[in-house]
Symmetry: C2
Subunit: 332 residues, 2 copies
Amino acid sequence: MHKISIKDVAKKANVSITAVSQILNNKGERFSEETIKKVLQARDELGYVPNSAARNLKVRHSRLIGIIVPSFRMPFFADIIQSMQDNAPEDVNLVFIGSTADNLQSSIYSLVERGVQALIFGRPIPNRDVVNAFLKKRHIPYLVLDQNADINAQDMVQTNEFTGGSLAASHLLSLGHRDIALILPNELTDNMRQRRAGFLDTLSAANVTPVSVISSALSKHGGLAVVHQLIQSQATAAFVLNDEMAIGVLRGLTWQNVKVPENMSIVGYDDTDYAEFMVPSLTTIAQPVAEIGQSALNMILQRLAHPNLPYQTAFFDVKLVIRESTAKLLLD
Amino acid sequence: MHKISIKDVAKKANVSITAVSQILNNKGERFSEETIKKVLQARDELGYVPNSAARNLKVRHSRLIGIIVPSFRMPFFADIIQSMQDNAPEDVNLVFIGSTADNLQSSIYSLVERGVQALIFGRPIPNRDVVNAFLKKRHIPYLVLDQNADINAQDMVQTNEFTGGSLAASHLLSLGHRDIALILPNELTDNMRQRRAGFLDTLSAANVTPVSVISSALSKHGGLAVVHQLIQSQATAAFVLNDEMAIGVLRGLTWQNVKVPENMSIVGYDDTDYAEFMVPSLTTIAQPVAEIGQSALNMILQRLAHPNLPYQTAFFDVKLVIRESTAKLLLD
DNA sequence: TTTGAAATTGGAAGCGTTTTCAAAAAAATT
DNA sequence: AATTTTTTTGAAAACGCTTCCAATTTCAAA
């Protein structure tokens, strides 16, 4: 019934509350060996666990950081948050939320109610201005992952999406493909736009334009649903803006008896866990996911320590991973 | 600098703190229209957001529920937590932790420091006794997912793992297979044991014993690493205890030019998102993941509302999903 | 012994809320 | 106009903790 508090251990150890607090927080050098022992023992016998709500209230901060991603179910983000958690310092607490555009606002609100001191956005922010104003007003710094944003408004970590798209294009080009399709999600996020830009630029530098640009739902099923369009386009290769969709495409192609890579080359994006396990394994653009997660966390921790330093942007490079889903164009 | 508090809005609205508190918590019927309006307006102008640490301290509860899973990167658990979050009532907060056996204890500790009122374990609990004692002492109810446990010690949600294993066996049997391998993870969790039991029982009822039992790391790479053993076993079919490993196996088999299902049938377990996208698509045992997540959350909420009701166990059925990775044994 | 310094300890305020209970104001009844 | 009833409001305590600062004890030096 009765939650045991610092008062209880003070009473049991026959010392003041002050002593208990100081000692348990490793600030008790000034106390005698004996008191220290008494306190520790009382703590253990009682099984006292401090109440961080009370602590936070008093010290006026929480060491709580909120991380907002579109969904836990996307491997890319699962990797990111796992790497954050694995690398978080002992004394900081992370809270993850998978949040759609619809409830982003209320997610943010609930997070600041809970006292987060900083936020990391792994997803696009609708109404960026109001979110920014809201957060700035409360002095809650935030960081955005892979999104265009005012470089002077917050920290960012970015990967070289443009290069990514470009790498995909030159790979396909170098294999001799000229009839190339582009498959992109219905709703383009900033990073997707850059992938596309890099891809398109490199293509047009070689004087080729895509034979087809296809919109798909951002999911495996989305990719699957779109393969007949791809087939009709007469393309010999396709760049699919992320691995999830690419996996769907691969699957659909096999069902339609289109051989990959003999009759169609496919390159994805993200180098998700699953890419190398597809049949055929998926050529794709790899991002250093773990580093991205760590870096984001570290930057925001930095920010908390030094609120007034100029905002920073971390850049990560991207690389092409060649696997089985792409091959030289066969001439007939 | 200065975080704005209830006091500020009271001052601005020219009313008491009491009034503000009551009104903003929808307990302000007794106040006049006018005061209510003043308060709301002041709240809005100031952009006041209540401090839940203070609130929790005062009301002595948090509506916070901790969910501990082995890793965010396992699709099965990603699905579970997503479904929990999607179905959580407005006023409850969820905090997810991906925790290995090593830091389970400290994860739990940190969660109770943060004031969780209940816990859901999606992973095995080493030292169950001490965990149980720790939690019971603090009146923190918990629920376990798919684990053996004293039915009178906590709530549980289980799926019919035994049936799952059995279904896999009879499917393979009915296809004419008699040389069947079993691939299981290095470390068997309770639910894995049951899968195995169901599988083995059904096999032996038909008078067959596995030609080989192979241990693998619980991952795609683990499955991959183990295919040569599988091939050497001369099995014509294998039951792999989860989809992740099965995906690895599928991949390895293709590389070894073993045709699935012509030369080897494979059945997995979980019906992960990816199962249907493999080439060949994976026959597997499906669990109603979303329902499981919701049910777990609802049960623990129930428990919070009625701490003294007898513990309950929810059972979910499991079903065989036949896809391309299994086929009739070809006679030669 | 006395004194002063050093070592050790504890009282109390306050963090932002909620809630009880009494007080004040307004309205209704004599 | 006086009284009672009803409506509306606010003061203050408490939740569990940290921390400032003053109080007490111990000990060495005079």
